[in-house]
């Protein structure tokens, strides 16, 4: 078949099962968009390219599939960078098509030309500039394959305008094989046996689950493994939902804003089993003091994650789902049983930590942000897809909303990209039209991609936005309170729009709560609104997130209350 480059891209999108593309057109992208419009693929036209990438990210996580973006050259391409970097840090599979000036103009500083492949090299899993029409089909196929295989991640494909216009003979090709890229899925059996040896000896085991569990769809295997081992499970921010948040063995999040019991358990355990984690600094605190009594088993599909930050006893390179299934199989085969006496002692100790220092706040005359999240959890029965912005709102969401299912908590974990939550909610709502999708937002972050209100309205996406409005860039204010003698340099953002009127001006519904007794009625009204709703909660201005471990301190150094 003789097809243009643009048409070939559409053919491959169909082959890859793509049903939605997020983006904005432009001069160099016009040909691709002309062809896209002729297909059945749904296009969600956002209002800023960063929104397109975050939306594709939210879509990818909610749908457990690749998210696809399409943007124009130059500024269209540069606007995607924060979104791509966020997806890269969180290992989210995306394919981003950026248009480029015609090949004859590349390097000439042409209008809307930018070297986006050069710019995104360190924040993509891989990227391509297509220089010849003959390379196009293979490149696009490879992009999808690389994005979704191994440790997933964003792949960018830069398409010069003339490539999208030139024709060539196209016939569908099978899955690409790359001689230099071959992820390891199956763990080494000797490593697994070694791990089993440590598991049998352990008296105080803790499992530490991360985003890798969710990405590989290993929640069921993890739950089985933990129950069999009677091991409590702590999660990273990215790992929330990997293990049921209401289970007795759940410890909560660990690290800087982790629960008392999670941090104490990790610091006291004799075996730490890290699954799909990368021992980020927000989790470990001061490296030399992390899990001092523990032998460490680390399962991850990316060998670079292992021993990058901390030494481990047993490294296991492999897919989390396959590795956990293999460990479960070994346990059965070897008729593994838990030593009842030591297990009881350990679990009793954890119960005690749980009782002495539960997450708490003090409800007074002003609305507490934690109370809003807690009520939201109650009213939605924990069944909503929650996205968050970045900062205090994100931490309160992680602490007070409990996730029993994977793929329901969508947040910019690694990059901490403000402005993520709302476009991600749009993407999640597109992926799951029948689910309730709520963005838990701060008044700072929500303003960073507020323009996407138009997108949500245009496509009738009934996203709910809960703003925990403290008129501060709250997380930085908290640090200033604790470590900078309350000098609130450039964190007061009281000068802000009226969010109720803002929602109305876009055609949505807005409502506000200023007193604690208004929280529940406003949430009920907002959640029951058929379309988009902004719920603006004027919360205690100087409320802080606790527990808090100061950056660089051991994770037992927790500041517990105001």
């Amino acid at each position: 078949m003789e097809l243009t480059g643009a048409k070939i891209i559409m053919e491959i999108l169909k082959e890859e099962g793509v049903d939605t593309v997020f983006g904005i057109t432009g001069g160099a992208a016009i040909e691709m968009y002309d062809e896209l419009a002729k297909t059945d693929i749904r296009h969600i036209m956002v209002r800023h390219e960063q929104g397109a990438v975050h939306a594709a990210d939210g879509y990818a996580r909610a749908k457990k599939d690749v998210g696809v973006c399409m943007v124009t050259s130059g500024p269209g391409a540069t606007n995607t960078v924060s979104g791509i970097a966020s997806a890269y840090m969180d290992s989210i599979p995306l394919v981003v098509f950026t248009a480029q000036v015609p090949t004859s103009l590349i390097g000439n500083d042409a209008f809307q030309e930018v070297d986006i492949v050069g710019i995104t090299r360190p924040c993509t899993k891989h990227n391509y500039l297509v220089r010849s029409i003959e390379d196009l089909a293979r490149t696009v196929k490879e992009a999808f394959y690389i994005a979704r295989s191994g440790r997933p991640g964003p792949v960018l494909v830069d398409i010069p305008k003339d490539i999208s216009q030139t024709t060539t003979n196209y016939k569908p090709s099978p899955r690409p094989s790359l001689k230099s890229y071959n992820p390891t899925y199956r763990p080494n059996i000797r490593q697994l046996r070694w791990a089993m040896g440590l598991i049998k000896e352990a008296r105080k085991p803790v499992i530490f689950a991360g985003g890798g569990v969710i990405l590989s769809g290993a929640s069921r295997e993890l739950t089985k493994f933990a129950k069999r081992l009677k091991a409590p499970v702590a999660g990273t921010l990215m790992g929330l939902g990997a293990f049921p948040g209401t289970d007795k063995l759940w410890l909560g999040m660990l690290g800087m804003h982790g629960t008392y019991r999670a941090n104490m358990s990790v610091q006291s355990c004799d075996l730490l089993i890290g699954v799909g984690v990368r021992f980020d600094d927000r989790v470990t605190g001061k490296l030399g003091t992390f899990a001092p009594y523990a032998k460490i088993i680390h399962i991850d599909i990316d060998p670079t994650s292992i021993r990058k930050n901390i030494p481990v006893t047993v490294p296991i390179v492999g897919d989390c789902k396959i590795s956990l299934a293999e460990l479960n199989r070994l346990m059965t085969k070897e008729s593994f049983t838990v030593d009842k006496k030591s297990s009881k002692l350990w679990l009793d100790q954890i119960e005690e930590w749980k009782k002495t220092m539960p997450l708490s706040y003090d409800q007074r005359k002003t609305i507490k942000p934690q109370h809003v999240v807690e009520k939201l959890y109650e009213l939605t029965n924990g069944n909503a897809i929650i996205t968050t912005e970045v900062g205090q709102n994100q931490m309160w969401a992680a602490q007070y909303y409990h996730f029993d299912q994977p793929n329901c908590f969508i947040t910019s974990g690694g990059l901490g990209c403000m402005g993520f939550g709302f476009p991600a909610a749009i993407g999640a709502q597109v992926a799951c039209p029948d689910k309730l999708v709520v963005d838990i937002a701060g008044d700072g972050s929500i303003q960073m991609n507020i323009q996407e209100l138009a997108t949500a309205m245009q496509y009738k996406l009934p996203v709910k936005i809960v703003i925990l409005n403290n008129r501060y860039l709250g997380m930085v204010r908290q640090w200033q309170e604790l470590f900078y003698d309350k000098r609130y340099a450039s964190t007061d953002i009281a000068h802000a729009p009226d969010f109720v009127k803002l929602a109305e001006s876009y055609g949505g519904v807005g409502m506000r709560a200023t007193r604690p007794e208004e929280v529940e009625p406003v949430l009920k009204e907002g959640l029951n609104t058929p379309g988009l709703a902004i719920m603006d909660f004027l919360v205690e201005r100087e409320e802080s997130v606790y527990p808090m471990v100061p950056a660089g301190a051991p994770i037992t150094d927790m500041l517990l209350v105001n």
Binding site: V117, L129, R131, D302, P303, T304, R307, P311
Partner: protein, 162 residues
């Protein structure tokens, strides 16, 4: 842990930007490159890169893994762990005045260099050897006045088993 010199041999796909991916990986993660040398192999789709770096055991493990993670990298081998041959070449333009012309030629002889260009005032020498040998020669020539040098950086490969 002590930082040691490591010579790494890479086979990579001969595609645009591959060198910049490798250089970017080193600068982005704070690893250092002492020298880097790239040229095609017999297979024109494959390039060999020889790279000299320094690091302790854990840094070397990360460098190795991170290089392997790059999609365009086919093979990574830390030659320092094997028996290998390493060579570097340099061109040295040295001031050659009447009083030290003979001395320079003696050094040329001792170090098995070649004189590749001669003018009334300068010699240009071609020298190959290990980086240490080149440095030793340059130290000796320094007092006579080195006008310019160009070094290739190391290239290396494993010795064939006997």
């Amino acid at each position: 842990m002590t930082e040691e010199k490591h010579t790494i041999s890479l086979l990579v796909e001969n595609t645009p930007g591959v060198l910049s991916r490798i250089a970017g990986l080193f600068s982005g993660r704070g690893f250092n490159i002492e020298s880097i040398c790239a040229a095609p192999t017999m297979d024109r789709l494959v390039t060999r890169i020889t790279l000299v770096t320094r690091g302790d055991e854990s840094i070397m493990e990360q460098i190795n893994k991170q290089l392997n993670k790059l999609v365009n990298v086919i093979k990574v081998q830390d030659l320092t762990e094997t028996d290998f041959v390493e060579r570097e070449m340099a061109l040295v333009k040295v001031k050659a005045e009447a009083k030290n012309r003979a001395e320079i030629l003696r050094l040329v002889d001792i170090f098995r260099c070649k004189v590749v260009d001669v003018t009334p005032t300068h010699y240009t020498l071609e020298v190959t050897g290990t980086a240490e040998k080149l440095t030793a020669l340059l130290d000796l020539l320094k007092s006579m006045g080195i006008k310019e040098i160009a070094r290739t950086g190391s290239i290396a490969m494993t010795r064939e088993k006997k």
